[in-house]
């Protein structure tokens, strides 16, 4: 710089602080506002969410009002697909069945996961981490493999049937094990167990043990104490677990496709059909939006209910 010879008064300020304009304005904003700081931290995730979730969802929503005939998509705004859903009993039944199966899966998973989480939180004194790692071990293999494993266990010539035949306890293989809703519920519950155990474990672990002693000294036996203190205080974990299991299983299509048989199909299979063989993307989009809304409704009802349970004194 040629004109840099002129000494400026007070130019000792550190790098950046003397620079006027956008940067210092941003800096000021950043330092002053907690909200701005928070969103800046979130920004990479936020960007990804916007482009990988919000935008596709919006597209899905828009597309659900289009129509398709063979390969021609007509981008006009009509309610045809939703009317189709309203007319077709089989579609509604499938959605209803999906919610029902996921509901069963959620309940079964919670019933299996709660004792496990309770055991680790209250009975294990050392090596808790090892137990938690052991719980995640099934996740080290692929989901598809685990589904196939259940097929092998439950199948016509599967582990259970051949075992029972060898023992002579049955004459012919049991057929009710596979290709029905029972098989789907069982497999999904097993697949999602760890997702339920971990949040329940965390909320149980956080419970102050003197609260349990207080309940005891105030006259509660172990059962009463569980229902009046332990369970209500672990409700956040139970709610998280329920949502973590219920929401993704409603849309599952691999397990019903492989183990459900015709009676065990779910809404996910129908949606997949629309995008693939049936080649009706707008219908698929509409079904997706409908199941999204259904899940939202169920979840809201559930949250409202669990809040009531939590604040209720038995």
């Amino acid at each position: 710089m040629v004109d840099g010879t002129a000494p400026k008064a007070g130019s000792v300020s550190g790098a950046g602080t003397g620079r006027p304009g956008l940067l210092s304005w941003w800096r000021q904003l950043y330092l002053r506002s907690e909200g701005v700081r928070g969103y800046s931290l979130l920004s990479p995730t936020l960007l990804l969410m916007v482009f990988a979730i919000a935008v596709p969802l919006l597209l899905l929503f828009v597309a659900s009002f289009w129509t398709q005939h063979l390969l021609d998509i007509t981008p006009t705004f009509v309610f045809d697909n939703y009317l189709t859903f309203a007319e077709k009993d089989s579609y509604q039944k499938l959605l209803w069945r999906s919610l029902k199966i996921s509901g069963f899966v959620t309940v079964l998973t919670l019933l299996l996961a709660y004792p496990m989480a309770y055991f680790i939180a209250f009975r294990i004194k050392q090596n808790k981490l090892m137990w938690i790692i052991l719980i995640t071990v099934p996740f080290w293999t692929s989901y598809l493999l685990r589904v196939f494993a259940w097929k092998i266990i439950l199948g016509y010539n599967g582990v259970i049937n051949s075992g029972l035949l060898t023992l002579g306890w049955i004459q012919a293989p049991l057929e009710f094990l596979l290709y029905n809703q029972f098989a789907v519920v069982l497999t999904l519950a097993h697949a999602w167990a760890a997702f339920a155990i971990l949040p329940i474990y965390v909320s149980l672990e956080k419970i102050d043990r003197t609260l349990l002693e207080a309940a005891t000294v105030l006259g509660d036996g172990p059962v009463m104490r569980f229902f009046r203190v332990t369970l209500p205080l672990s409700m956040p974990g139970v709610v998280a677990a329920a949502l973590l299991v219920f929401i993704p299983t409603v849309g599952d299509y691999i397990t019903p496709a492989l183990l459900g048989g015709p009676k065990g199909l779910m809404i996910g299979n129908l949606i997949q059909l629309q995008f693939a063989k049936a080649n009706n993307w707008p219908m698929g989009a509409a079904l997706s939006v409908i199941s999204l809304l259904a899940i939202t409704l169920v979840v809201c009802a559930f949250l409202w209910f669990s809040k009531r349970v939590r604040t209720q004194n038995l």
Partner: protein, 366 residues
């Protein structure tokens, strides 16, 4: 009092692995008594209290409450209640639900339930707090709610594990008085654990001083302070000056001892037996020593020189050097006159004087 051994702890020990937390303790606590367990941290107070509650069971020995052996009675069937150090207020319940927690089995009507809870809230001076959430309570309020919750079903015994430890000094002193008044009004036997000697002295009918799983002395606050039976107790409760001494003779309730530089002293015996020639400790409280500018006629005095002086407002603490005695002697004096230069100035020559009965004789070895 109605029943002198309402709670009877008989030769109770508790081992945790190799650690002996409570070591052959036998204590009888009377009905309606305010009984304190006092001792430094880790001496087994909590463990003893938890055995009374039934959270722990003795390794050996037996506990009786109201004549019943407790060895096979679980916590929820014992006639006791407890206030925990962290109060253990149920976070998911409001104040009224917390206080009424133990009333569930009484199957009260809503009106009766509310009446009982309201009565307790009046007792702890928090009327109108029924619907408060637990996180809306201050430390002192939590403490009161915990107390009300423990008392609502009128237990025969209330156990308190350092319930005032988390409060600030002013609130703690106020709660000490309130708790004491409350105990007298409800007439329930209190077993109170603390490591704060002042707290124990203020509140208790009797105190058991504990150390390393054993108790050293069980007595009234006055007796503990005025007539400690061992150096540990004397040291733990208040400040004490100790002088090495030798018994010349001990009979008819008085002992004559030779205290080296302090000369020959006479002191009362407190159911103690000493042989002539035995080495003992002579102990005197700092406030029982007078600081004089001039010698006065008579015995029980010694010349010294003021080492340090600390002015504490209401009183002053002095340390006085005496020839032939290693540690300076602590003297505490009420500041009855307005302070100014005087007897207690550093390096002044002074005379220390005490009454004969102020001297306590202790065994040298414990």
């Amino acid at each position: 009092m109605a029943n002198e051994s309402f709670i009877s702890i008989q030769d109770v020990s508790k081992d945790f692995g190799v650690v002996r937390a409570v070591d052959r303790v036998s204590i009888d606590i009377a009905q309606g008594e305010f009984f304190s367990l006092l001792g430094p941290s880790g001496c087994g107070k909590t463990t003893l209290l938890r055995m009374l509650a039934g959270f722990e069971f003795p390794t050996s020995g037996e506990i009786f409450i109201d004549g019943q052996p407790m060895s096979s009675v679980p916590t929820n069937h014992r006639p006791v209640s407890m206030v925990f150090q962290n109060y253990a207020i149920f976070p998911h319940l409001n104040v009224s639900q917390n206080i009424g927690y133990s009333l569930r089995k009484d199957r009260l009507s809503k009106a009766d339930f509310n009446a009982k809870v309201g009565e307790m809230l009046d007792l702890i001076k928090l009327p109108g707090y029924e619907k408060r959430a637990s996180h809306e309570l201050s430390g002192g309020e939590r403490q009161r709610v915990a107390l009300a919750r423990a008392l609502v079903r009128r237990p025969k015994v209330l156990l308190l594990d350092e319930p005032l430890g988390a409060l600030d000094k002013q609130l703690r002193e106020q709660m000490q008085l309130e708790l004491r008044a409350l105990q007298k009004s409800v007439g329930i036997t209190f077993v109170f654990v603390t490591h704060d000697q002042e707290e124990a002295l203020t509140m208790s009918d009797r105190i058991a001083v504990m150390s390393k799983g054993r108790y050293l002395q069980i007595d009234t606050p006055t007796q503990l302070y005025e007539s400690p039976t061992s150096r540990t107790v004397a040291d733990f409760i208040g400040t004490m000056n100790f002088f090495e001494a030798q018994v010349k003779d001990a009979q008819n309730g008085r002992a004559h001892i030779d205290v080296g530089p302090l000369g020959s002293l006479s002191a009362p015996l407190r159911q103690q037996k000493f042989a002539a020639g035995q080495r003992v400790l002579a102990a005197i409280r700092p406030e029982k020593i007078a600081l004089l500018a001039e010698p006065k006629p008579g015995a029980n005095q010694v010349k010294g020189q003021v080492d340090t002086a600390a002015y504490l407002g209401d009183r002053s603490h002095f340390y006085v050097r005496i020839e032939g005695i290693e540690r300076p002697v602590a003297v505490s004096a009420q500041n009855m006159q307005t302070a100014g230069p005087g007897v207690g100035d550093p390096d002044r020559q002074v005379w220390l004087s005490w009454a004969e009965d102020a001297v306590v004789i202790l065994n040298a070895d414990d």
